[in-house]
């Protein structure tokens, strides 16, 4: 069973536009939600994360909006740049777990056209 779902699978935007990547999850016990960014040929790297006690987290051009009631979150990339072209993974975890395992979505491939 897919615990974390992402949409769309692929997204193309023009440079300067805001890209919106969506994520939903099944397990209401999840309370930590990181987004990882992956460039071709590299491993994923943490981009930004949010805890379930917050409904918004900003870091420069990247903002997470979180809706606990609906078990949904989204990553907004403002003023998209060609260098933002990458695959973005939403993940979820339960912080109380000693393992700290992450459940990953299938990813959204973002293409930013100059």
């Amino acid at each position: 069973q897919q615990q974390v779902r992402q949409s769309p699978q692929s997204l193309t935007v023009w440079e300067g536009e805001t890209a919106i990547l969506n994520c939903s999850y099944e397990n209401s016990a999840f309370d930590y939600f990181p987004w990882y960014q992956q460039f071709p040929g590299e491993g994923p790297a943490l981009l930004i994360s949010i805890l379930s006690v917050s409904d918004k987290k900003e870091d420069g051009r990247f903002t997470i909006f979180f809706n606990k009631r609906e078990k949904k979150l989204s990553l907004h990339i403002a003023d998209s740049q060609p260098g933002d072209s990458a695959t973005y993974f939403c993940a979820a975890s339960r912080r109380g777990s000693a393992l700290g395992r992450l459940h990953f979505g299938a990813g959204t491939q973002l293409i930013v056209i100059p």
Binding site: E42, G43, R101, F104, A106
Partner: protein, 113 residues
Amino acid sequence: EAAVTQSPRNKVAVTGGKVTLSCNQTNNHNNMYWYRQDTGHGLRLIHYSYGAGSTEKGDIPDGYKASRPSQENFSLILELATPSQTSVYFCASGDMGSSYEQYFGPGTRLTVL
């Protein structure tokens, strides 16, 4: 800076052969993880470890073994490789005591013919 390295970066194996993928981390993290990445599936957890000498099964352990001989090293072993194991494999390390971030290696592309 956090560092996770993997070897080899690319591997071609024959069906039925034995394959060992190696991972080394210099973060002094207790936890290490092996994932495989396939289009449409994201990252799926194969095996993980809490520390030297421990290995645990993840979500898709069938056909894989793991070994954690030291804090720094974590290996993934395919005793009898099959074409369905063709994938990109990522190792990661993390320490739940300080943060929940996992640090990933650059990946190993494995092709089983």
